[in-house]
């Protein structure tokens, strides 16, 4: 199948675009366009045209998805089909008039090829070529893989196989590994098995655990009972041991109490009270004495202190005088300094006044000083003057410049003519421009016409003796291909049958002659006696005998004859008997001879029949209208002649087309030329008479450019003049404002100068500035003189006067002896006296305070002595005595009696505490009943028994805990069930890993095996063919491809012209690509030998090829195009000359 025309009706960026792919000797088409020209779109279009568009297309950016549409005319040996492909899900195939076509309408053209196969096998782009080249390198040690990948149009077999092998390895391998899925599962299974084994409890185990617990509990209860009895015994003995001593004490103390019946019971603390009272009384009396001495000493000290009360009365005044003295210490010196400073300032003022022409005394100067407001006004006016003057001058200049500028523009404008381009020129030029390269195009068309004519002549000549006019050729009714095929098949059948009949006849004749010869030779070699010979001999013998018998002959005469006859007959019989086998054989030969004769006749008849049939067929053919018309053309020549006729008709059409195109081009060009010439002449443009269209276009373009440039320039100047006038008005207004402002300033200046009295002699601005500065200086200094007089000198004099007054006042009041003394001396003396008086007063106050405290202490000591005596008094009254010394023995007796009573009470309490609740009487009887002397021994025995009992109970408790634990573990928990669940989970994961492992390992093995087989079968023809192509692609640098059979695995390599073997890894990237292309083309050729041909789409395959190898590649595609249509896409327009050089200038080149 081939594409005759591809129509991009609404598809991607295209609208109603057509790519013509006409049939030629080399069916190779070169589609070239820059990036974005729609090359990839066109390539995609071919696949989608043939196999349908995807549900969602990325090419629906211009036209709505639902309106995408492609069209084509495709053809094969059976005919052609024009159709459209839409994006509909159903009935996407349509006729050009949009009637639906059946979904399998393309099947006769496509065979069983689907889209994926088409893309893999018939479409090769640069990416696939590169990847193929790389994969060859990856699989360079695996010839089978290289061949298979190339032939299958896939470039990833190795990766598929490796991926499968890798996956298999992650699932299972002989070596246990934690990374392999199976072993991960197996590990979990082991763990779960262990867990299950630990967790599972058999029923028997439960029964045993139950029995053990029951038994141990019984023993434990028995031990507890026994222990309890021993505890009671030990408790009793312990009680006796504890209570016996207390009981003895009780008895002893009760006996001793009888001696103290008459003793007076004094309080328990009487002894302590007595001794404490005695000690406290002695201490209180001693303290009383000490306090009295203190009072006396302090009174003396107070009497000795004298205080100057008069001076204390003037305390504040003295302190004030002291402070004033300190402040006025430097005043007298300072007064002298300030007087000098004032003199200096006044001198400077006078000097400045002289410069202004003023008098030199202070009073006059002060009266002449202008006010500060006037001075500031003068300063401000001086500052403003410069700016105002400057503005006036610059504004006037600006007005003048602008006027000059406007004049200049006006003169320029006058120099440029004002004309316009006529519409006629524009219209004519637009038409002419489209035809600009018409001469080139006309030459191309003329060339094409010549070539088409040449092709037509060749095609006509190829029709041989059966040449006709084009009209007759077109009108000729030709048998359909199917009819021709049927006829040819019929004839072929008849010829074959005839040939077979001839062969069979020849064979039958050959067999007959052989058998005839065999029979003759057999007869000659073997002397065979036949039965008739024997019969004849016997008849001769019998006749001889009969002749004798009937007397025809005498015995003597006949005897010898009889003997001879008898002997002959006997010999014949003997001979016959001896050659029975040979005779049978001969007979068989003769029978065969007969059969073969019949067969020869039969075959002869058959041959004759076949001959007749064939003759009849030929005769029938020769009488058909078509054969008659072609003057008895042989059937075998018809197909070839019809093909040539097609070529001739195509050439006729082509020639017509070319002629029409040329004529149309020429007419259109002339019309355009005349229109343009006329328009230009009307516009007054001078034109050479011979000017061709291109020159006319240039003149017109130049004319239009000139006129348009003038217009643009005029427009620009007019705009500038307009703008200039506006600017001038603004500038004039500004200049007037400046002049007015300056006049105003001059008026103000005159007024203020007269107020300032700076002297009429000063005329310049600089003079006024200097005078203002001098006046400011004078004013500043006079102000300073005033400040010194007021703030310093006057203040100091007032201070000194106040100091003298204060000092005199104090001297008179305190000590007249100090009259006439200097103020500082007076102040120092009075201050010293005041300090002494203050110190004396402070000492007297301190002693007075101490004396008051001593009186209080004395009173307290007296009270304490009275208190101690009062505390002891009740004891004496209780004992009935008055003397403290007699009290002591009575107190001692009382304490002794109290001790006895307390001991008795304690013994009773102890008995109660240790008696475990028994009464004293019960304890008494219990102690009485016990052998106290052996008590310790008995107790030790009981304790030993108890220890044993405790130990035994502990053992039993442990035993019981173990038994309880054992049984508790069988408490219905789900550990075993969970472990079993985990086991099943592990098994499930192992099953999953196993299943997948077997699948991928089998697939890996199968793939390897099949590739090896493939190599064994396909290696020869494919390598040979690929070698040839590779040699051509590499411009003969390599002669062929070889396989190194000594290596395992087998390695593919290429042989250089110089005999050097180059392995794939040693090839450059470009050479590897060429090798892959060679393998693909070889595989393609082999494929096309047995399958439907479809267009081979090649997309920019030669990116890694240098120019010469690219040409070789184009040549190979040209070769391929003899077998199937080749459509080559490229964005390299520089390849066009290469393509034309290699494939001829008539090669179809489509520019996108």
């Amino acid at each position: 199948m081939r594409l005759h025309r591809l129509e991009l009706i609404r598809y991607g960026k295209f609208t109603d675009a057509v790519i013509e792919l006409p049939r030629a000797e080399k069916d190779c088409h070169f589609i070239v366009g820059p990036n974005e020209a729609g090359k990839s779109t066109s390539r995609a279009a071919i696949a989608e045209l043939l196999f349908g568009m995807p549900r969602s297309s990325s090419l629906g950016f211009l036209h709505p998805q639902s309106e995408l549409r492609l069209g084509a005319v495709i053809e094969n040996s059976a005919g052609e089909l024009a159709f459209h492909r839409t994006k509909n899900i159903k009935n996407s195939l349509r006729t050009p008039s949009d009637s639906p076509l059946s979904d399998d309408a393309l099947a006769p053209f496509l065979g069983r090829v689907d889209k994926s196969f088409f893309e893999q096998m018939f479409s090769l782009d640069h990416t696939q070529l590169i990847r193929g080249g790389q994969d060859i390198l990856d699989a360079s040690k695996d010839v089978g893989q290289i061949l298979f990948q190339s032939a299958a149009g896939i470039a990833s077999l190795g990766r598929v196989r490796d991926a499968l092998a890798e996956e298999a390895d992650t699932l299972w391998g002989p070596r246990k590994s934690a990374d392999r899925a199976y072993y991960i599962g197996a590990q979990r299974l082991d763990e779960a098995n262990t867990e299950l084994k630990d967790a599972i409890v058999r029923t028997k185990a439960w029964s045993e655990a139950h029995n053990i617990l029951h038994n141990v509990e019984e023993r434990f209860h028995a031990a507890q009972d026994s222990h309890r009895l021993l505890e009671i015994k030990r408790s009793q003995l312990e009680r006796v041991r504890r209570t016996a001593p207390y009981l003895a004490t009780l008895r002893e103390k009760e006996a001793a109490l009888g001696e103290f019946e008459d003793v007076i019971m004094l309080p328990p603390d009487a002894g302590a009270q007595l001794s404490n009272g005695q000690a406290e009384l002695a201490a209180a009396e001693q303290l009383l004495q000490a306090r009295r001495a203190d009072v006396e000493r302090l009174q003396n000290e107070l009497n000795q202190i004298v205080v100057d009360e008069i001076i204390l009365t003037f305390k504040k005044e003295i302190e004030s005088l002291e402070a004033m003295c300190h402040r006025c210490r430097d005043h007298r010196q300072d007064l002298l300094l300030r007087g000098a400073e004032i003199s200096s300032l006044l001198d400077e003022v006078k000097t400045a006044s002289v410069q202004l022409g003023w008098p030199d005394n202070e009073e006059s100067i002060r009266s002449l000083l202008p006010s500060s407001l006037v001075l500031r006004t003068v300063s401000n006016l001086i500052k403003e003057r410069g700016a105002l003057k400057q503005a006036t001058v610059s504004d006037e200049k600006a007005v003048q410049r602008k006027q000059e500028e406007i004049s200049l523009f006006e003169s320029r404008l006058a120099a440029i003519p004002a004309i316009a381009v006529s519409p006629a020129i524009r219209t004519a030029l637009a038409v002419a421009q489209t035809m600009r390269n018409t001469s080139t195009k006309q030459r191309t068309l003329a060339e094409a016409e010549y070539l088409a004519k040449h092709e037509l002549d060749s095609a006509m000549q190829a029709l041989g003796t059966w040449q006709h006019s084009a009209e007759k050729l077109k009108a000729m009714i030709v048998p359909s291909d199917e009819r021709l095929a049927d006829l040819k098949a019929e004839r072929q059948r008849l010829v074959s049958a005839h040939r077979l009949a001839e062969q069979q006849f020849d064979e039958a004749q050959r067999r007959l002659s052989i058998t005839t010869l065999e029979t003759e030779q057999y007869s000659q070699i073997h002397r065979i006696v036949t039965s008739s010979e024997v019969t004849d001999a016997r008849l001769s013998r019998d006749a001889a005998w009969t002749a004798v018998k009937i007397g025809e002959k005498s015995l003597e005469a006949g005897a010898s004859e009889i003997d001879v006859a008898m002997q002959f007959a006997d010999e014949l019989v003997d001979a016959q008997l001896g050659c029975v086998t040979e005779s049978t054989e001969l007979q068989s030969l003769q029978h065969r001879l007969e059969r073969e004769k019949a067969d020869v006749e039969h075959q002869r008849e058959m041959l004759s029949n076949k001959n007749k049939e064939l003759s009849q067929f030929e005769k029938n053919w020769m009488t058909t209208e078509f054969a008659v018309e072609l003057n008895g053309m042989l059937l075998d020549d018809v197909s070839a002649w019809l093909d040539r006729r097609e070529v001739a008709l195509a050439a006729v059409n082509s020639l017509d087309l070319k002629k029409r195109e040329l004529l149309r081009e020429m007419q259109t060009a002339n019309e355009a030329s005349e229109q343009l010439r006329s328009a230009l002449t009307d516009a007054g443009v001078s034109i050479p008479d011979e000017a061709i269209l291109d020159v006319l276009c240039s003149i017109a373009e130049s004319h239009i450019r000139g006129v348009e440039a003038n217009a643009t320039q005029r427009e620009s100047i007019l705009q500038q003049i307009e703008q200039g006038k506006i600017d001038l008005a603004v500038l004039r207004s500004s200049a007037k404002e400046s002049t007015d402002a300056y006049q105003q300033w001059q008026n103000e200046w005159k007024a203020v100068l007269s107020q300032a009295k700076l002297g009429e002699k000063i005329e310049t601005i600089a003079g006024v500035e200097a005078a203002v500065e001098l006046v400011s200086e004078i004013e500043t200094k006079l102000v300073k003189v005033n400040e010194i007089r007021r703030d310093r000198i006057n203040a100091m004099q007032v201070d000194l006067e106040r100091l003298s007054t204060e000092a005199q006042h104090l001297v008179k009041a305190i000590d007249i002896a100090l009259i006439g003394k200097e103020e500082h001396f007076v102040s120092g003396e009075l201050s010293r006296r005041l300090a002494a008086a203050l110190r004396a007063k402070q000492d007297a106050e301190h002693v007075h305070k101490e004396l008051k405290a001593a009186h209080a202490n004395l009173k307290e000591a007296t009270v304490q002595v009275d208190s101690v005596a009062a505390r002891i008094r009740p004891l004496l009254q209780m004992a009935g005595i008055a003397d403290l010394v007699a009290l002591l023995p009575l107190v001692e007796r009382s304490d002794e009696k109290r001790g006895l009573l307390s001991a008795i009470e304690t013994a009773k309490l102890n008995l109660s505490r240790e008696g475990d609740g028994l009464t004293v009487a019960e304890i008494f009887s219990e102690v009485e009943a016990t052998d106290v002397t052996n008590l310790q021994v008995t107790l030790a025995e009981v304790n030993a028994l108890l220890s044993n009992s405790v130990k035994k109970q502990a053992e039993l408790a442990t035993e019981r805990a173990v038994a309880e634990k054992t049984l508790a573990e069988i408490s219905g928990r789900a550990n075993a069930a969970i472990a079993e669940a985990k086991r099943q989970e592990a098994l499930a994961s192992m099953a999953e890993a196993s299943e997948r492992y077997i699948k991928v390992a089998t697939a890996t093995k199968l793939l390897r095996w099949a590739i090896d087989r493939y190599r064994d079968r396909k290696q020869g023809p494919m390598l040979s063919r690929a070698g040839t192509i590779f040699s051509r692609l590499t411009l003969g640098r390599f002669t062929k491809l070889i396989v190194d059979y000594d290596k395992e695995p087998l390695t593919l390599a290429a042989l250089r012209t110089n005999g050097q073997v180059v392995e794939i890894s040693g090839m450059s990237e470009g050479t590897r690509d060429q090798l892959y292309l060679a393998l693909r083309l070889a595989a393609m050729e082999l494929h096309l030998e047995q399958a439907t041909a479809l267009p081979f789409i090649a997309d920019d395959l030669f990116v890694n090829f240098d120019d010469e190898r690219a040409k070789a590649g184009i040549g190979e595609l040209g070769e391929m195009s003899k077998q199937t249509q080749v459509i080559f896409f490229s964005h390299h327009s520089h390849m066009i000359p290469m393509v034309q050089e290699v494939l001829g200038s008539s090669v179809n080149i489509v520019q996108l």
Binding site: T203, A988, A1001, W1009, R1017
Partner: protein, 417 residues
């Protein structure tokens, strides 16, 4: 009067075929049979039913952990505290279990004798229960003939563990016919042994309640027991009680219109979402079966593991607590058939022929046998029974494996670009 009829509890029987993967709801489901049974007991107590019937196969016959029995006793103890008696009939599995003989059951549990048919009566309810336990696993005699005549004036219940007319999925123990049961004159037949719920109405109501909890992918759909209500002495109403904690389900996804793995994953995702929306009552163990003649067939062959991971991610997104993926089974077929491959007459077609030859290439098959021999030798026996490939290898049938792998491999190759 109301009672619960259950059977085929198979306490502590594990769920089969679930591969644990990260975040799979393992803890939730490892005690599925126990949880289902406890739920049933909860319902019995809440509903204050009058009694409970267990019609056989309380345990798995080969299960030896006595804890299972103790657990059962504890649950029965709960019924005892609620004053609910239980009538327990031993089936073929129980007959095989050693626990049956040794376990000390609470006194509210009444076991039917295995020596002869035994009748228990509940006089206050006017109910008579007739039943006979299996003495041994292989009980193939018809036990119904040994059951006594119905007691007049009582609601008569026949408790029986039976395959009933030779149910093909289950061993044909204690066979009998529906007609025979109807003719016995009982009002209700509480059957066990067949794991799917079935009911026959007629002279009597005959019910298989099904098993309490599905345990493998063959036991799909909701599972549980039945609550039987008897009004006016003899009018029987059956209410199904679903107590299973995990439902098994096969989700068939047709991927005919998918071009590759991503499409397939998306389609499965959609199917899963719809499934979860419609079945969100209990978690599901789900088998995703991908089918249809699809362009993706070849790609899926190589990306089976990845597909599973993708499906697991989808499930994780939905929420692992809802779904446990049992298996992602690829049963797709190639888009083009053998004839179409052959008609291409290219290397793939050659490969197709070669792979066909491979099935009969003794050397290759021997090679494969040799490859798998060390693997099969290491595989535990119980795994072999669950992986058909392993059985085939042990039987020396490598051809079937090659036949199985061939179409996928071929599609995988032709789509490999």
């Amino acid at each position: 009067m109301r009672f619960i009829h259950t059977a085929d509890i198979h306490l502590d029987s594990p769920l089969h075929g679930l591969t644990a993967y990260p975040d799979a709801p393992v803890e939730l489901l490892r005690s599925a049979t126990r949880d289902a049974f406890s739920s049933l007991i909860d319902i019995a107590i809440e509903e204050r039913v009058d009694f409970v019937i267990i019609a056989g196969d309380l345990y798995d016959g080969t299960w030896r952990d006595h804890n299972t029995g103790i657990f059962f006793c504890k649950e029965m103890g709960r019924l005892k505290r609620a004053d609910i008696p239980t009538f327990l009939l031993y089936g073929n599995h129980d007959a095989e279990s050693e626990m049956t003989k040794k376990l000390q059951l609470p006194d509210n549990v009444h076991c039917f004798s295995a020596r002869e048919a035994q009748t228990f009566t509940l006089d206050d309810l006017k109910v008579a229960l007739h039943g006979r336990s299996f003495k041994e696993k292989e009980t193939t005699e018809n036990l119904v003939t040994t059951y006594p005549r119905p007691i007049e004036g009582f609601f008569n219940i026949g408790v029986l563990h039976t395959a009933l007319e030779g149910n093909s999925m289950h061993a044909s123990y204690a066979p009998c016919s529906v007609a025979e049961l109807h003719s016995k004159g009982y009002h209700y037949w509480a059957l066990g042994h067949v794991h799917d719920y079935s009911i026959w109405r007629g002279d009597s109501t005959i019910v298989f309640p099904g098993n309490l909890q599905g345990r493998n992918i063959r036991e799909t759909g909701r599972r549980g027991a039945v609550l039987v209500s008897v009004e006016d002495g003899f009018s029987v109403t059956i209410t199904r009680l679903y107590v299973d904690v995990l439902q098994w389900h096969v989700l068939n996804v047709d991927v005919s219109d998918c071009a590759g793995l991503l499409d397939v994953v998306r389609k499965i995702g959609n199917a899963l979402n719809i499934f979860v929306t419609e079945n969100n009552r209990v978690p599901c163990a789900i088998r995703v079966v991908i089918m249809g003649r699809s362009m993706a067939h070849g790609e899926l062959f190589g990306l089976e593991s990845q597909l599973r991971m993708e499906v697991l991610s989808y499930v994780a997104a939905i929420g692992n607590e809802h779904l446990w993926v049992e298996k992602v089974k690829i049963e797709t077929e190639p888009l083009i058939d053998n004839a179409q491959i052959e008609s291409r007459m290219d290397a793939i077609a050659d490969m197709h022929h070669l792979l066909m030859e491979a099935e009969t290439d003794d050397a290759l098959l021997k090679d494969l046998q040799g490859l798998f021999a060390p693997f099969v030798a290491k595989v535990p026996l119980e795994l072999i029974s669950s992986v058909p490939f392993l059985q085939a290898i042990r039987a020396g049938d490598l051809t079937s494996i090659v036949q199985h792998v061939r179409p996928g491999l071929l599609s995988h190759l032709s789509k490999a670009e």
